[in-house]
């Protein structure tokens, strides 16, 4: 199967060589189409990583360039993302911060090397990109520091109605980060089924529970 892909790819490129013989480049739109065809010809499915992972939705497509999308498109991406957020039916937003810390440390999940795409086997990979607990020195910096996340936002009592907006925003951000920034680098953990609701509750607790080490 892989071999077939390589052969097809070679034929496609060879056919284009004739057209490319003269010195000018194809138009930008033609190159976009060629790049898409190149992706389809170059990849093949393996394990849980199927070819539909290359099918881009509006946001993925619009954020696939060094140039950000127009404000209109960005607004549409954010509006659709916001509408996609599934809020907890029972109104329960907070789980166990200890489990949340384990998730934040765990970078497994969704690659072709994994046996299952079920979220229960996935981690959140949070430390890959964020500082979170002060005791963990090995943290990335692609995302902002989340140390003292709840404390800095004045969350002293999670049942206090004053804490509701930040709790809801945090749920939404984890569920679908693109609701608040169209081209956010952060995965859409709920929307893309990377984590289940219980796991998101645990991650929420890590960030917001006043007892979590993050808020000490």
């Amino acid at each position: 199967m892989q071999r077939k892909h390589i052969v097809i790819g070679t034929v496609a490129v060879s056919a284009l060589v004739v057209a490319a013989g003269c010195a000018s480049l194809p138009s930008s739109a033609e190159l976009d189409a060629q790049a898409l065809a190149m992706h389809k010809a170059s990849f093949s499915e393996r394990g849980i990583a199927k070819m539909d992972r290359l099918d881009q939705d509006l946001g993925q497509k619009a954020c696939s360039s060094a140039i950000p999308p127009s404000p209109d498109v960005a607004k549409r991406i954010e509006a659709e993302a916001l509408a996609s957020i599934k809020w907890p039916a029972d109104g329960k937003y907070i789980g166990d911060w200890r489990e949340g810390e384990k998730l934040a440390q765990n970078g497994r999940g969704m690659s072709w090397a994994e046996r299952s795409a079920d979220p229960s086997g996935n981690g959140g990979s949070c430390y890959n990109c964020h500082q979170i607990g002060k005791q963990e020195l090995s943290f990335g910096n692609i995302g902002p520091s989340l140390y003292n996340y709840g404390k800095l936002r004045g969350v002293k009592d999670m049942a206090d109605p004053a804490a509701a907006p930040i709790i809801q925003y945090t749920w939404g951000k984890i569920w679908n980060s693109k609701a608040y920034a169209a081209c956010s680098d952060m995965p859409r953990f709920g929307h893309a089924r990377l984590l289940n609701e219980d796991q998101i509750r645990d991650a929420m607790a890590l960030l917001l529970d006043p007892k979590s080490p993050v808020n000490q």
Partner: protein, 264 residues
């Protein structure tokens, strides 16, 4: 034994360094310690011998293989690849080109080798050859040709591949390698949209990886990037991998190659 020692040395350097200096400093120090003992040298020696040895169904050596500078010219070839090859009418990176030479000169089946897992069969041959061929350009600066229209087209396709977001995590190459000063955990991420500096990024592969205890070619490096991007499986020497090589290599113009390097 040597590898265990190396791994413990790295661990010690990292642990000791955690409080007082960055991991990057620790790794640099560790590299310095091993400067005369990069295990990649074993691969280089093996590759040099394999180049000259008659092999394959035709029992011929690779000494007439053209890596872009004429048949048999190895010095300087690595820092000018991927490039256009008139005989295959394709833009090829080193590994794609070695497949061509192994098929046309030696009679191997290139498609079979492309399907073979890393570290197995003739893939091992390519790993050793890549180590030796890249070492023959050590200290030279990257200067990929962009004279042919196909080379320029592949740069444009590579740029699009670099920024292509997909998969369940919405990642592209640019998610990690699009700006300066970023890290995943403690691993520094080179900005590959420009020349990230001598011996960094494109100018550091192939490399011996201490964490896996073997030599990784650029194809294997890209394959593992795509695994972490949660993409489907990139074909070995497929167009998307070659196009990314053109994009990164052209951007790295002027960067000094230290390959085969030593990596964590």
């Amino acid at each position: 034994m040597k590898i265990v020692l190396i791994a413990s040395a790295l661990l010690l350097t990292l642990t000791a360094g955690a409080q007082t200096k960055s991991t990057a400093d620790g790794i640099a120090e560790y590299r310095k310690m091993l400067e005369d003992g990069n295990p990649a040298e074993l691969y280089e020696a093996k590759g040099a011998a394999l180049w000259k040895r008659p092999r394959g169904p035709k029992n011929v050596s690779l000494e007439r293989c053209d890596l872009g500078l004429g048949p048999g010219v190895v010095k300087g070839a690595w820092v000018q690849m991927p490039r256009w090859f008139a005989d295959t009418k394709r833009v090829q990176d080193l590994e794609s080109r070695l497949l061509t030479c192994m098929e046309t000169l030696q009679g191997f089946n290139a498609a079979e080798i492309a399907k073979t897992s890393f570290d197995r069969g003739e893939q091992e041959t390519i790993e050793a050859l890549a180590a030796w061929i890249s070492s023959e350009s050590r200290g030279q600066k990257f200067a990929l040709p962009q004279g042919h229209a196909e080379e320029r087209r592949f740069y444009e396709l590579g740029k699009r591949a670099f920024f292509f977001r997909g998969g369940p995590m919405d990642f592209s190459c640019a998610s990690c390698h699009g700006v300066d000063g970023k890290r995943v955990r403690l691993q520094d991420l080179p900005n590959l949209t420009k020349n990230p500096g001598d011996g960094i990024g494109f100018a550091a592969w192939p490399a011996y990886r201490v964490s896996s205890g073997n030599l990784w070619t650029m194809q294997r490096r890209l394959n593992d990037c795509y695994r972490q991007q949660r993409f489907p499986f990139p074909g070995y020497a497929s167009d998307v991998t070659v196009a990314l090589g053109v994009y990164m290599g052209v951007n790295a113009k002027g960067a000094e190659s230290i390959a085969p390097a030593l990596k964590r």
